[in-house]
């Protein structure tokens, strides 16, 4: 503080525009909740949300095309809008747009969250046709946090983004229209475990700040070689940071929340969480472990090996024992987090890092679309009490609704990584990057757990097509325009990325070519 003058910070508003649009629309959404009459709210929220997400997406593309990739962090070094960040923003925004079409379905959300389940209040609320239209601004706030999280260039911004991302999601999880006890329980569990893990993240930040004297990722990186005698702080700090981040991606041993939350949350919200949060969280994991702690890779890599192996094995094996479709997809998502972690470990020389990064980016795009599609199908298979979650209810679906069951089977094959689906190229790219960095044992475990995973995917397909439908089996709801658009889009993306992956692969290559800005 010399001279008493404080310079005003410079903020590159143009670079941050996609994020600002999303946050701006969220705030307008809150105002709509406050001032618009009840019957108009949804009609205002819906276009506002979609236009904001689409606008932000187009701006992201425009930025990447017109201005190229910036070489310095924006906003006084707080936010890094670089190639990987722009690519991740693109995926998140398009997936959020698609999920919004699902969330628009009236059947998904509770009429009045404050009404106790089974009470007269609830009946009254349902009869009056109330709706919790707050889901739209909550969704936008959460998406805003997801955009900031992988682009954060210091640990404080990352922590704030983590909370902005998570807090609306905790609430959204508790708003299911049917099976409200499950939904509320999912919300409580997610909240308590999420708050617990973010406390770990924060204490890790504190210790690393103590070590490096700064929370800037670049400053942390350059302090690694210069600070002496404080290694305990650094190691414990790294471990705690890792706990917070690995919790968000649902890596074992921090995966316990995932099946519970995925099952209890409204399926449209599960679709949003399962796709976009994973994308955002991997962006942040990469930034912390590659940019800030990249020179420490000899120390964190063995631990990450263990985590990756455990995650793949736990995800694949526990998925076999599941009898609930959403829980099964949750364990499958845990296994996929493990496959992606093999890419995070595959560091080496610059060229190697590029390959690994572009593989992860492509995998995230492919996996995100397939996931949204799979959960969209789950919303359509219903019986009297809402969605038919139990696997036995899905028996013979192929005879009742051949098209829907066929599409779902296709998504499952993509999860399993069968050639001609997007999952194949994703897995191939990540595993070949891992092989190139001498992580062969990891790839062997990965391939074996893929094979185990393929077993339970195929089991569902067999169940759908080769068993007799139950007499009182679930009906397939006539999909709304939004839901069918989501399924069609996801199926198209899975086919195109599987048959003709070249454009997206080269886009991912370009995004990864300059790695992360420092």
């Amino acid at each position: 503080m010399n001279g008493g003058t404080i310079e005003a910070p410079t903020i590159e508003y143009a670079l941050l525009a996609p994020m600002l649009i999303v946050f701006g629309a969220a705030i307008i959404g809150v105002l709509v909740e406050a001032f618009a009459p009840r019957h108009l709210r949804k009609a205002i929220h819906m276009p506002l949300t979609l236009v904001a997400l689409l606008g932000a997406f187009l701006l992201t593309i425009l930025q990447a095309v017109r201005d190229g990739v910036p070489t310095t962090p924006a906003a006084m070094g707080a936010v890094a809008v670089d190639g990987p960040a722009l690519f991740i923003w693109g995926i998140i925004l398009i997936l959020a747009f698609v999920s919004t079409l699902l969330i628009n379905d009236d059947e998904q959300f509770v009429a009045q969250a404050a009404a106790v389940p089974g009470s007269n209040d609830e009946e009254e609320a349902v009869r009056s046709g109330y709706a919790q239209t707050e889901v739209y601004p909550l969704l936008l706030f959460s998406v805003g946090g997801m955009l900031l999280f992988p682009a954060a260039n210091d640990l404080l911004v990352m922590f704030v983004a983590l909370e902005v991302l998570s807090l609306p999601l905790y609430l959204l999880c508790g708003l299911a229209r049917r099976r409200r006890l499950l939904s509320q329980e999912a919300s409580l569990k997610y909240f308590l475990l999420g708050a617990f893990s973010s406390a770990f993240f924060l204490y890790g930040t504190a210790l690393i700040y103590g070590y490096a004297g700064s929370i800037d990722l670049r400053a942390i990186s350059s302090s690694l070689g210069t600070v002496a005698g404080q290694d305990t702080l650094l190691y414990i700090g790294t471990a705690l940071l890792g706990v917070g981040l690995l919790f968000k991606i649902g890596a074992a041993p921090f995966q316990a929340w995932k099946p519970d939350v995925y099952q209890g949350a409204p399926t449209a919200v599960t679709a949003l969480m399962a796709s976009t949060v994973l994308v955002a969280a991997f962006g942040a994991v990469l930034r912390v472990f590659w940019v800030a702690l990249g020179n420490l890779d000899w120390d964190w890599r063995p631990v990450m090996w263990g985590v990756a192996i455990l995650t793949m094995v736990v995800g694949a094996i526990l998925a076999i024992t599941q009898t609930e479709i959403k829980r099964m997809l949750a364990y499958s998502s845990i296994a996929h987090a493990g496959f992606l972690l093999t890419g995070v470990i595959a560091t080496g020389a610059v060229e190697q890092n590029r390959d690994a990064l572009s593989a992860i980016l492509f995998y995230l795009a492919a996996y995100g679309f397939t996931t949204v599609g799979a959960f969209a199908v789950v919303t359509m298979v219903r019986d009297a009490g809402g969605e038919a979650g139990h696997l036995s209810r899905w028996a013979g679906l192929g005879k009742r609704a051949p098209v829907l069951a066929g599409i779902f089977a296709f998504f499952l094959l993509a999860f399993a990584g069968i050639p001609l689906t997007s999952g194949f190229f994703g897995k191939y790219a990540v595993f070949s990057a891992a092989v190139a960095s001498d992580a062969l044992p990891l790839v062997v475990v990965g391939v074996v757990s893929s094979a185990i995973a393929a077993f339970f995917y195929v089991r569902v397909i067999v169940l759908m097509f080769f068993s007799e439908p139950a007499a009182d089996g679930p009906s397939v709801a006539v999909p709304t325009v939004g839901t069918s658009a989501v399924v069609a889009l996801a199926a198209a993306a899975t086919v195109v990325l599987g048959v003709f992956p070249e454009p997206v692969l080269s886009l991912a290559d370009q995004a990864a070519s300059a790695l992360f800005v420092r």
């Binding site: 969250a113 404050a114 106790v116 389940p117 404080l156 922590f159 704030v160 909370e163 807090l167 905790y170 609430l171 508790g174 409200r180 006890l181 499950l182 509320q184 329980e185 999912a186 919300s187 409580l188 569990k189 909240f191 308590l192 708050a195 617990f196 406390a199 924060l202 204490y203 930040t205 504190a206 210790l207 700040y209 103590g210 004297g213 700064s214 929370i215 099946p259 519970d260 099952q263 209890g264 024992t321 599941q322 829980r327």
Partner: protein, 98 residues
Amino acid sequence: MTTHYLVLSALLFAIGGIGVLVRRNAIVVFMCVELMLNACNLAFVTFARQHGNLDGQLIAFFVMVVAAAEVVIGLAIIVMIFRTRRSASVDDANLLKY
């Protein structure tokens, strides 16, 4: 001499962490999380003193705001559960398993 403060902060963090794991009432669990956040604040402020820069004190303010936001969300969820089940015990919320 900032070591004492760091030890205190580590102790608070550990007490909070153990509390989250052993206590059964959701409100108490949540208070333990808040204790952990405050332990972080103490560590930040101590390190700011040690390094002679203001970053740590600045972070402490952000953490307070985030913690306040978390309280709003958390209490809403816990009250919702309590009204439904007439209990805030985390052991009673056991429908989702296996």
